[in-house]
Amino acid sequence: MPDFALRAANITRTYGERRALDGFSLDVPTGGVFGLLGPNGSGKSTFIAMLAAMETPESGSLEVLGGPPSRALRGRVATVFQENTADPLMRAAEYLRFAGKLFGLSAVDLKTRIPELLARFGLGERARDPVSSLSGGMRRRLEVARALLHRPELLLLDEPTTGIDAEERAILWNTLRASAEKVTILLATNDLGEADSVCDAVAFIQSGRVVVAGTPAQLKAGLRRESVRITWPGVSSEQLARVTAWDGAGEVARDGDVVAVTTDDASTFVPRLFDLAPGEIRSVTIATASLEDAYFQHVQRRAGERVG
């Protein structure tokens, strides 16, 4: 088994005038869950499509499971797409049988594998139900079960939990973790909370390139201890410049009416805020620094929106 599930070096891909991937470089070690975090349009889906050999880079090199992406390699890779792929006219078990045959599984293997996966993902009693009758969360579970059917070595999840509630999300991740111990999982998402809770390592991407990569702990290490989110309509650039200059203030980023600041000690920082802008601040939330703070630090900095 290679040390790296995938290695990408300086990949570019354009669609018309738009550069979807622009010098994209990333190494993902074998095993565990690796998060690819970025805003919509940052190139996550394009990169996933390349790993599944459904798209080709214009330049750069890409290695998946020790070789170049190819049709043959697709049998060792599985993709859960943003959209459901299950045919609504099929029954749940029928869809898995169809997908299993596409990926070359034998009828004998499918006979045991399908009930096993349906049961594991809590769909055993819905095996004969039409896909169209399943709830959104059940359909996502069916998609993940389908992806695990042919025992892939690399599982590509492209925003797999979009549109499902927190309970369904927890069920899906718990089952997935238990079912895919030996699988490398690449999770493309813009849900920073989900990434923080499930990923062993992450890369922040923006405008088609990796901005920074590391474990969540490494990425949070550079931040101050606490994160303060301030709802501050009408905040001026002069006010933000003053906040940035305070002792103990770390990264200051603004997103509309919300200002995010990392600080060593929120208990001294917050009173100074109210002194600076009496009557202007609507709310203040204090939290331990999260992956979201790290994300805003790195990604917003590249977007040129960082203050100070």
């Binding site: 499509a49 459904m54 792929t85 006219l89 099929m90 088609g208």
Partner: protein, 259 residues
Amino acid sequence: MSGALVIASRDLMAVVRSRSQLYSSMFTPLLFLVFLGNGVSQGLEPSNLPDGNFTAYLVAGAVVMTSVFSSTFSSASYYRDRDSGLLRLLLSAPLHPRALLLGKSLAALVIGVIQAMVVLLVAAPFVDFEWQYGVIPGLLIAVAAIVLLNLMLTGLAQALASRIQTMQGFHLLMNLALFPLLFFSGAFFPIDGLPAWLRVLALANPLTYAVDALELAVYASSDATFIGLGIDFTILGTLAAATYLLGLSRTPKLTYSGS
């Protein structure tokens, strides 16, 4: 090949479960037979039909029309699969893209041939066919003509579907292309007595040769006034092979916007 068969069996299952497609391709041609056939036979008494009544004559045209509808509906499954997301799964599987095209075209071919034969067999007891070569040989000739016609139409529809972005555009183009061809193919009136310019157009029309072969197989009492099976099958066979290969030539692709 096994991948193509998996896809073909799924497409056939989808047609059977989506009943509207199963019946709609045959419904309009059967309506033509019942209303137009009887209306013209009894109301207008066309004198230039060589054999039998107009309803019997119209059967061949109804069979061709069924094949036109069927190939259009079947090839539109490409758009349904794209919109439902299934196409992503198909393209991520370790299959040659041609297996996908072959599977879809096989399903379209099977459905088209079955639907066309159903129309022929439903009509047969109610109309006065001549069966000039005998019933079994006539049926075999009809099956051969229907298979070649459906190969040709499926290839054409698939070639268009792989080049046109929207289902609406695809249906529009198929209707624009195929309906005029139906009108001067001999489907609704014999081409023998047409003005010279219209007859030239009819002879340049691929559907004419399918109608002609079907009329000769079931309706006509002699080859007089028809083109002839030799020419019909030569042209149908050549066009079927060419368009079917054209249909398999361009693999479907999903467009990534770069998100």
